[in-house]
Amino acid sequence: MDQIAGIINLDHEQDLLDELTYFRCGAAVPFAGRYRMIDFTISNMTNSRIESVAVFARRKYRSLMDHLEQGKAWDLDRKRGGLFILPPDWNDPTDISRGDLQHFHNNIDFLRRTLAEYILVSGSQHICNINFQDVLKEHKDVNADVTVIYKKVDELYPEHQMAHKLDIDEENRVTSVNNDHTNTNVYMDMYLIKKDYLYELVEECIAHGCSHFFLDGIKAKIPNLHVHAYEYEGVHALVNSVESYYRASAKLLDVDERDELFRDEAPILTKVKNEAPAKYAASSNVNNTLVANGCIIEGHVEDSILFRGVKVGEGAVIKNSIIMQRCEIESNAVLENVILDKDCSISESRTLIGAPEKPFVLPKRKTM
């Protein structure tokens, strides 16, 4: 089996999740009751037998470092390979690289040391369950220079407008990368490339003063390269705004979506917290809800997601809401269309109601 190494490039990802990204980058945002966004990318990589993963971090990466713990949860705290979080801390005055090329240039040791022949570069905003070995197989079958991964979406939502789209010919070659608002071939910010070729393109980009490897190094060269499009056909969500986050979360209440995302043979792993099983009191009433461990529920919860360690008091009512770690909802409080970040407290009988299309978001550690 050919080896692949992974790069998770957060350099150009914008932190547009309002209150949820005030103090953390998008990759570190909690998602699906017990995970962080980046867990999906890392788990997809390890499930595809990728054993070396570099994370190019630029801003607000402290909570990411805390969460990743050198890759422990993915068995990536290793002697050979493993997970490397690479914040920008370079001090070479002769360095002329710019943008994400700074990362590629200053972390070239990661590429040098890995034995892998191929590199899979990914962002953190596309939630999916994908096997990159399948991508490699197709990449080799068609003898591509670069293989980019896309999802053909059924319906275009606002979040898709911020993504690049692909025009593809009948041989699945990419003919253009664009922002056509009617194109449903959403580029998933993932591409596979031979390591030696990546080197070459990186050096060329730096020599030409480029600042965005994908746009300047790959997109700009489409006429001259064989850029192959790999269609990912599984469950997919793009999370790059509060609204898309809320929509993607709601989809998780669908059993088929969930079954496709969380699979025994390709599990999504995350940091272990050692919480007790969730406890439901005699007074509790829970419907159509995802509940993580450590919750203690005495009230009413429906169409919602409760992260680990949430307490819901007697008579409290929670609907269409996402309640993150360790929030405490006191008795008779009412929450509807709300996203609470970690460690929020809602006092007795308090009511917070957001709009279904624009949830009310409370930042970390807020008491109301």
């Binding site: 017990r34 007790a276 406890k279 439901y280 009191a281 419907n287 159509n288």
Partner: protein
């Protein structure tokens, strides 16, 4: 290398036959408890929370599951460079070998292991009990009294005292007599099977005991009496808190039900004394619109479409529509079909309960029904005790 202040030896070789089919393929300490845990999680978490970082686990009977579960000790933070958890099965030496012949013999056969760490004290634990205990408090007491050995005791109701090993003590806590299951108990201080010995004393008595042909090589029957006979200083350390021997199907069921109290005596949500366990990596549990859940502990990976009432549900359990699980314990990965009725039962790991099956007896005086591991129950059958 530095020596260790206190090394723990955890006796985990018991077969636990009174747990019936639950221990057919696994040793008793590996039996499931509390929706998420195995029994051995409690002593191991107690060790790590008490800052005891060196634990020998003495195995004998069906150690594969236990070995695999303990692994490198990472869940309990016992994957240490020096110390940590070591699984200690019987082994062969130049002069021969054989199975462990009693609790004292098991420790005796691992004196070399203890000598590596040359500890000041040795803590002896068993893998049969559910409790949260700070062994470092007991160690402080042991050190401050200058005892040769300290035995942890708890007050049991007088009427139950004759079922336990009873410590008769002087006013200052010094033990002057040990009564194994006395017909007429003089005290209600029952031994919890938790001992701290001074290492030099333990070593000497284990070596002496090994020479005695008539000895059963047991701590309670041989070592403690020998110490008392020699007038060694044995102190009783009184523990007060939740403690339960889960050695039978009924007591295992009861201990699970205890967790469903509004404020259970055994608090699993105390972040200052976490009970660690190996994580099965499952997504959050899903409670469907058709579900009714009340008075329950439910773990990750479950999907509940039916009714859960006063029950403990382990990870990966599916309960389909119109089924009712009441006063029961459902172990990992059990699949329960539609229109199933379960009352007062323990359903062992991986069982499949088909549509319409009826299990258990709602009569509060009835025995607890046990469905064996990976059992399959059809609609027509009524699970007997297995």
């Amino acid at each position: 290398m530095k020596n260790k202040e206190c090394v723990a030896m955890l006796l985990a070789g018991g077969q636990g036959t009174r747990l019936k089919s639950l221990t057919k393929k696994i040793a008793k300490p590996a039996v499931y408890f509390g929706g998420k845990y195995r029994i051995i999680d409690f002593p191991l978490s107690n060790c790590t929370n008490s800052r005891i970082d060196t634990v020998g686990v003495l195995t004998q009977y069906e150690p594969l599951v236990l070995n695999d579960y303990i692994g490198i000790g990472a869940p309990w933070d016992l994957d240490r460079k020096y110390g940590g958890v070591s699984v200690l099965p019987p082994f062969m030496q130049a002069e021969g070998g054989g199975w462990y012949e009693g609790t004292a013999n098991a420790i005796y056969r691992n004196l070399e292991f203890l000598k590596q760490y040359d500890p000041e004290h040795v803590l002896i634990l068993s893998g049969d009990h559910i409790y949260k205990m700070d062994y470092s408090d007991m160690l402080d007491y042991h050190e401050s009294t200058g005892a040769d050995a300290t035995i942890s005791v708890l007050e049991v109701p007088w009427e139950d005292a004759s079922r336990f090993g009873i410590m008769n003590t002087e006013e200052n806590g010094r033990i002057d007599e040990f009564d194994e299951k006395p017909e007429f108990p003089k005290s209600n201080l029952a031994s919890m099977g938790v001992y701290i010995f001074r290492w030099d004393v333990l070593k000497q008595y284990l070596m002496d005991d090994a020479e005695k042909e008539d000895s059963s090589h047991d701590f309670g029957k041989d070592i403690i009496p020998a110490l008392l006979k020699d007038d060694k200083k044995l102190m009783a350390y009184t523990f007060d808190g939740y403690w339960k021997d889960v050695g039978t199907v009924d007591s295992l069921w009861e201990a699970n039900m205890d967790l469903l109290q509004p404020k259970p005596e055994l608090n699993l949500n105390d972040h200052t004394w976490r009970i660690y366990s190996k994580n099965p990596n499952q997504p959050p549990q899903y409670i469907a619109p058709s579900a009714t859940v009340r008075n329950a502990l439910i773990n990750e990976g479950c999907r509940i479409y039916g009714t859960i009432d006063t029950s403990v549900i382990f990870y990966g359990v599916h309960v389909d529509e119109s089924s009712v699980v009441k006063d029961s314990v459902v172990m990992p990965d059990v699949k329960i079909g539609k229109n199933v009725k379960i009352n007062r039962a323990i359903i062992a790991k991986g069982s499949v309960i088909e549509d319409g099956a009826v299990i258990g007896d709602p009569d509060p005086d009835s025995e607890i029904t046990l469905v064996a591991e990976e059992g399959s129950v059809m609609a027509s059958s009524y699970a007997a005790n297995s």
